[in-house]
Amino acid sequence: MHAPDGFLNAGTAVATGAVSLGVIGTAVHQSKATLKEKQVPLAGIVAAFIFAAQMFNFPVAAGTTGHLLGGALAAILLGPSIGAIVVTIVVVVQALAFADGGLTALGYNVLNMAIVTAFGGWALYRLFRRILPNTAAGVVAATGLAGGGSVILSSMAFSLEWLFGATAPIPFDTVLGAMVGVHLFIGIGEGVISGLAMGAILVARPDLIYGARDLDRAQMRDRTPIGARTLVISGILVALVFGTVVSQFAADSPDGLERVAADTGIAANAQDHTLDRFVFADYATSGIGNEALSLAIAGAAGVLITLLVGFGLFAAVRGSRPRRDQPSGV
């Protein structure tokens, strides 16, 4: 979502702004090699496509509709760097020319909607491609899973930003639970639409897809459906990612350890950590039932996002070569 000004504090706006500038700057620099001059109008037109696609709604349930974010799909179609750049331009122009999203919120809006979705989505795509069969169906499934996962990653990133930049007395774990919970459903929609759209593109012009350039003709035509075993493994992976969320609901009920600590008076001291008040926003940690567990989960989520986005960035910078020759566009 396009957060307005004032939603997160100034420090977070600056920090996320710096991160976004750094990442996109690197992406621009790195893509100078791959973004051959031919691709500039192409990237612009795909940006227009993403912008337009975000405006149109698809049905979710009983007539309610959802909207596409498209970051993961852009990364898989164009490559992670160019995908991130394209969605960044969409988000920036939406803020400047359509007043959608605050000017000072650009730092975290770009980070959440373009960088985390594109690089994180690309990382998820590569991971799923590794365990799914090397066929067109594998590409479609990986795209769908990456699309859904990218949305959830994005909501987790926002929750983490809330931890550091909250401007309201709502604890981090509540925000995390609510954000990720809602985006679980939105993610299903994004995943399904991304996968189906990828399927349509694969049938007509598989050569256009950056993420499928490792498939040869035979693999592309392979119509064997994806086995139950691989789907289960994928499902488990996805569940692990979101397990951090589910466990939040357990955090609010005092567990055995906490009861012991309360009985022996340790808990009272534990709650008064002055250290984290310097790091986390005033409000983000107060009101949490079990602060230590919440912060541990925040840490895990942070590590997960950093790993995935980092892997996506690394893969982008390394720029893996296609394993078969592309017919050069005339």
């Binding site: 979502m1 307005p4 000004d5 004032g6 621009v28 001059e37 031919k38 691709q39 109008p41 192409l42 990237a43 612009g44 037109i45 795909v46 940006a47 227009a48 496509f49 912008f51 337009a52 696609a53 975000q54 405006m55 149109f56 709604n57 698809f58 049905p59 979710v60 349930a61 009983a62 909207h67 969409v90 803020a95 400047l96 020319a97 359509f98 007043a99 959608d100 605050g102 000017l103 000072t104 919120a105 401007t167 309201a168 007395p169 709502i170 939105i186 299903i188 399904v192 639409i193 189906l196 759209a197 399927g199 349509a200 593109i201 007509a204 256009l208 409000y283 107060s286 009101g287 566009g329």
Partner: protein, 254 residues
């Protein structure tokens, strides 16, 4: 998730703001919103001052308040969230009409609503007084890398074309009785989106050929658009200077 509007906000007028160079406007808008964002919510007088400045600008730009109010609807979801905060917020509570509200929560609600609406209004003003190609050009003059500016320029050129094609696809599908209500019925929409991507891609290749045909050798040529003058920058500086002065005073006095 937010859906961007494809309806340009530009309101065709000839005012001081309309004729100001885009890079000056962009910088002024951004810096002013920064000043607003760092102001402590407790200094209510500061936000009154900001609002007064905004009202002045809206009159100066000859933009109708009804227009601004209409475009402000985009922040409504966040306003609703903000209103919700005092009810669920922690910390010191206060009784209002029999309901327990969080004091900090009330300040947060005010903080978010004030800053979001002021920020959004500035954005609306910027968009209303600056045509989109000029906004993109302003970005370039503010040192945004040329390749990003080029991509953005093509994007805004083809946005309506592609949105139009997507719209026509939907109309064609609806005309054949397609009325999806559930996610698993979305396959035709997704398939048409995929087809549109392919057509967009192929158009991208043809546009490149057209650029080559007119002598393109890798860099967009300078087409001689007016650059910001010292006068532009001076006029543009008025708003952020005012904003920063108010913000500083608010920070010191609170």
């Amino acid at each position: 998730m937010g859906a961007g509007h494809a309806h340009a906000l530009y309101v065709h007028e000839h005012t001081l703001l309309h004729h100001l160079a885009p890079e000056a406007k962009l910088a002024a808008a951004f810096l002013f919103v920064v000043a607003v964002a760092i102001s402590p919510p407790q200094a209510i007088w500061a936000f009154v001052a900001f609002a007064a400045a905004i009202v002045l600008l809206v009159r100066l730009a000859r933009v109708r308040f009804r227009f601004v109010a209409g475009r402000l609807l985009v922040i409504v979801p966040f306003v609703l969230f903000a209103v919700f905060i005092p009810f669920i917020g922690s910390g010191e509570q206060v009784e209002v009409l029999g309901i327990s509200l969080s004091v900090d929560g009330l300040w947060s609600m005010w903080n978010i609503i004030a800053k979001a609406s002021i920020g959004a209004t500035i954005s609306i003003l910027l968009a209303a007084t600056t045509e989109i190609p000029d906004i993109v050009r302003g970005m370039g003059r503010l040192k945004v890398p040329a390749v990003l500016v080029s991509i953005a320029t093509f994007m805004i050129r083809y946005l309506e074309v592609i949105a139009g094609e997507l719209g026509r696809m939907r109309v064609a599908m609806t005309a054949r009785g397609y009325d999806p209500r559930w996610l698993w019925q979305a396959k035709p929409i997704a398939a048409s989106a995929g087809a549109l991507f392919i057509r967009s891609y192929e158009r991208g290749e043809r546009v490149y050929d057209a650029m080559l045909a007119r002598g393109y050798t890798g860099a967009m040529p300078d087409l001689g658009h007016r650059r910001a003058t010292r006068r532009d920058w001076a006029i543009g500086a008025a708003l952020p200077l005012f904003g920063l002065a108010v913000a500083l005073a608010a920070g010191v006095l609170t």
